[in-house]
Structure formats: structure tokens, C-alpha cells
């Protein structure tokens, strides 16, 4: 239903810090039709070529200033993930994604106000790393 919102095209790239590749990042819109505080993000899952990324290696930001791990996000109520503004998802991984083609999957799962089960969306994209 909201799968089309997940994993924005051409946003997946390696992160370079002090001339070292420390991981990769991507962007996604929300799997809902309104903004919610980050504490209502139930889970974010990333898979690369079928391999699950460990949960503790994932962090997120709505402003590219302050970053929260998924565990930390559970108490973050004053930063909102706005409808129409992407969430940045970073994966800490030495060397990032290797050169070549990868199948990167993103699952976004959020709690909503009245629907008893969280709303999930998934998108798999083919990512080229030059």
C-alpha cells in the first residue's frame, strides 16, 4: 500500500569520512500518510544481496545533524519524520558497499494511531557502486 514510498531512487551511496569509506546510506519516505515522532518508527531493516544488516549498525536522522540508533529512537518524541521529507538511513560497515551491482532491500515499519498492526513497506533496488 505504501511500498511506493520506500527507498528513494538514486539515494544509496557510500559514506566517506576522513578519506575512508565507513558505510553507506539511503533515503526513504514514510510508509504512512502523515508525519510521526521518531519513537513511532517500529523498525528499519536493511539487506544487501540477501544478507541482513545487524540492527545495531543502523542509525537514522531527519535533519542530518542528529543521528539515532534504532534502540535510541524508541524514546525520541520531539523529532518528527515529516510526510514528504525523507528519513536518512545510515549503515555502519567498513568499506561500505563494494564496487559493482548490489540488491539492496529496505523495510520500513511504523506504528499508526488507530490501525492495530504496524504499517510496513518494502522496496528492493538494484544499486550500482562505481
Amino acid at each position: 500500500m505504501f511500498d511506493n514510498n520506500v527507498f528513494l531512487e538514486n539515494t544509496c551511496k557510500n559514506i566517506e569520512e576522513a578519506s575512508k569509506i565507513t558505510g553507506f546510506e539511503l533515503k526513504t519516505n514514510i510508509t504512512y500518510y502523515r508525519g510521526i515522532p521518531l519513537s513511532m518508527v517500529n523498525d528499519i531493516r536493511v539487506e544487501v544481496d540477501g544478507e541482513k544488516i545487524p540492527r545495531e549498525n543502523i542509525s537514522c536522522s531527519v535533519d542530518e545533524v542528529d543521528w539515532f540508533t534504532l534502540d535510541e529512537m524508541e524514546t525520541v518524541t520531539t523529532y518528527k519524520w515529516e510526510y514528504g521529507e525523507p528519513l536518512l538511513v545510515r549503515v555502519r560497515q567498513d568499506g561500505g558497499l563494494s564496487k559493482g551491482t548490489h540488491q539492496v532491500a529496505l523495510d520500513v515499519i511504523v506504528r499508526t494511531a488507530y490501525i492495530p498492526v504496524p504499517l510496513a513497506g518494502r522496496k528492493v533496488r538494484t544499486v550500482e557502486i562505481a
Binding site: Y33, R34, I36, T75, Y83
Partner: protein, 339 residues
């Protein structure tokens, strides 16, 4: 006789907004150019940092409302009772959050709040002094799948009747009056892999004048012959979601008419002959006209969530076609031009 007014919920144009094809101003302009004079807004959707948008956002809102001469009719408010993963909000936390929403509605020039379905009844009494002070009426949404006979909805209605305040009422979503399952929803599920036999089974329930929710309730879950048909996750998804469309007679509203403040005129698909595929708006408007309803009815397009990947988004076209339909019907009923 009544004086039914029309407006458009900005929910209808959410994909245009999400993908930045239309800004909030573009939406106001588009609606104003098409003689729409009232809007419904989800502040959480299009006003950042709701319920505390920045002064800049509020000034921009004032500017848009003023230059496009748009009446902001109603704000759709949510209550994040599950803000935290490990517990529900307390009563005090719920009330405090909603006080902020009342203040925001007042600041936006809005006198009516739609409370999302399942908002607990206990918030009403403590909120009444704020509703009166800020002149904002609180109306619970009666939505298909969560409608009149659901215990939490019933509790809200009982409390509403007990308090009997002009500041408390109901918003009715017309998804309660589906004569047929929305075809766009079935097509989307079919694309996901739902079996045609399962779709036929649900369509048949509507054809018999019933709806899936009622049938599931009567059977304590999916009926056995439906269970036999459910083979994939896509089959289950479809069967579950199908209970969000009800097929009630208009007369279910009879006892609630004095409390009804607003209608969501749900729109799944305008067909080529200018009618909504699932809901008979001529019949519904005839009923409301006879009852003397004089509030707003708001176009709420939801077919956007069932657009197949790679197909064009047709939110603007659908909204205009639906507005044309309901304005014409009201005009015929009331013998005057209606916007």
C-alpha cells in the same frame, strides 16, 4: 431544507505533495482555480512540526488562506496513544496532546476537529473547557471497519450523548456505504498476487447486500469456504483489508443526525460515466437533503494508495470529477448553484 456545502480534503492530493509535484501553495491554487472554497487538512501531513508549527509556517498558512480565499473547514487530528513502544499513553498524556491540537486548530482559523477513530471516550469531558474556550468542536470519525458497533466507537457515542455538548459530535466517512468493493483495491491486490477466486468471493458478499466485516463477525473470523481459498499472503492481505469497506443502509445515520458535524465523501474511483464506483452519492445526498443536513461534505480521494506501480497518479482529475458529481447532485436537490 438543508444547505449542503462541499469542500476538498488535502488528503486527496497527498501523492502530489509527497513527491513534491505540488507544494501546499500549488494545491491551494489548483483548488481555488476549480472553484473549491473550502478545505480539510491533516496538519500532521502538510504543516511541519504539528502541533507546534513554526511561526514561519503559520504566517505562510495565513497568506495562503487569505489570497486564495479558502475556508479551512476542519483539521484531521490523530492521537498517538502508541507514541512509545512499551506502553500506552496515560489519560493525562492523551488530554494534554489534544489540548495542543485544539489550540493549533484555533490558530489556523478552524472550528472543527476530526478525531481519528478509536480515540478513547475519556478525553472528551476534560477537553470540553478547551473546546469552548477556543471555539473548536471535537468530532469522532466513524470509519468503515471501525464503525458504530465497535466497542470503542460505542463508548465515545455514549459519552457524547451523556455530555450533550454542541462541541462534541461525529464525522461520518462514506466508506460505510459501499455498495461494491472498490475495484482499484481489488486490482491492486490482484497485482500483488491475490487469487481471482478470493476477489470473487468478496465481491459476492457485497452483491448479496452484506459486507465482509459483518460476514467475518457472524463466522467468528473468515468463513470456512473463504479459508479454503486463502493460499498466499496476498490472499490474506486482501481478505483482511476487505473488511474496511462497509455496506450499511443510510438509515443507520437516523439516530445520529443531530450529532453529525461533517462528512468524508470517500472516493476510490470515479468511473467514465461520472459516478463513484462503490458509493452511490446521489442516493446518499438525497438522504442527507431530506434530513436537512447543512454541513460540509468533503471529497476524500483514497484511490491514490491503490495505483499500480508505473501507472500515472490521477489525484487532480479524480478530485475534480468527484466535485463535479456532488455539486451537480446538490444543485439538482436544492435548485441552486453549489460550490
Amino acid at each position: 431544507m438543508g444547505n449542503i456545502k462541499t469542500c476538498v480534503s488535502l488528503y486527496s492530493l497527498q501523492d502530489e505533495y509527497l513527491n513534491k509535484r505540488m507544494s501546499l501553495e500549488d494545491i491551494f491554487k489548483f483548488l481555488a482555480e476549480n472553484k473549491v472554497e473550502g478545505i480539510e487538512i491533516i496538519p500532521d501531513q502538510m504543516l511541519h512540526n504539528t502541533p507546534h508549527p513554526s511561526e514561519e509556517t503559520l504566517v505562510e498558512w495565513d497568506r495562503l488562506v487569505s489570497i486564495y480565499k479558502m475556508k479551512p473547514v476542519i483539521a484531521d487530528v490523530f492521537l498517538n496513544t502508541n507514541l512509545y513502544k512499551n506502553r500506552e499513553l496515560t489519560k493525562k498524556e492523551c488530554v494534554d496532546l489534544l489540548i495542543e491540537e485544539i489550540k493549533l486548530a484555533n490558530r489556523l482559523g478552524i472550528n472543527l476537529i476530526r478525531l481519528v477513530s478509536m480515540v478513547p471516550a475519556f478525553v472528551i469531558e476534560p477537553l470540553l473547557p478547551y473546546a469552548e474556550k477556543y471555539n473548536v468542536t471535537l468530532a469522532l470519525e466513524i470509519h468503515a471497519g471501525l464503525s458504530f458497533d465497535v466497542p470503542k466507537t460505542q463508548e465515545f457515542i455514549d459519552e457524547m450523548k451523556r455530555l450533550n455538548s454542541p462541541y462534541v459530535g461525529l464525522v461520518i466517512d462514506a466508506g460505510v456505504f459501499c455498495k461494491r468493493l472498490p475495484r482499484v483495491m481489488a486490482d491492486y491486490c490482484k497485482h500483488l498476487g491475490t487469487n481471482q477466486e478470493v476477489i470473487d468471493y468478496i465481491n459476492d458478499i457485497f452483491a448479496q447486500g452484506k459486507d465482509p466485516r459483518k460476514v467475518y463477525l457472524e463466522n467468528g473470523g473468515f468463513p470456512d469456504d473463504l479459508k479454503k481459498l486463502l493460499k498466499s499472503e496476498a490472499d490474506h492481505f486482501f481478505a483482511h483489508f476487505a473488511d474496511g469497506y462497509e455496506n450499511e443502509p443510510y438509515s443507520i445515520l437516523d439516530e445520529y443526525m443531530p450529532y453529525i458535524k461533517h462528512f468524508h465523501f470517500k472516493l476510490f474511483e470515479m468511473t467514465e460515466n461520472g459516478e463513484e464506483y462503490s458509493i452511490d452519492y446521489k442516493g446518499l445526498l438525497q438522504y442527507l437533503h431530506e434530513k436537512g443536513y447543512d454541513g460540509y461534505v468533503s471529497t476524500e480521494y483514497e484511490g491514490n494508495r491503490w495505483v499500480l506501480p508505473g501507472h500515472p497518479m490521477v489525484e487532480k482529475e479524480q478530485v475534480l470529477a468527484h466535485q463535479a458529481l456532488i455539486r451537480n447532485v446538490i444543485k439538482d436537490l436544492e435548485g441552486q448553484e453549489v460550490y
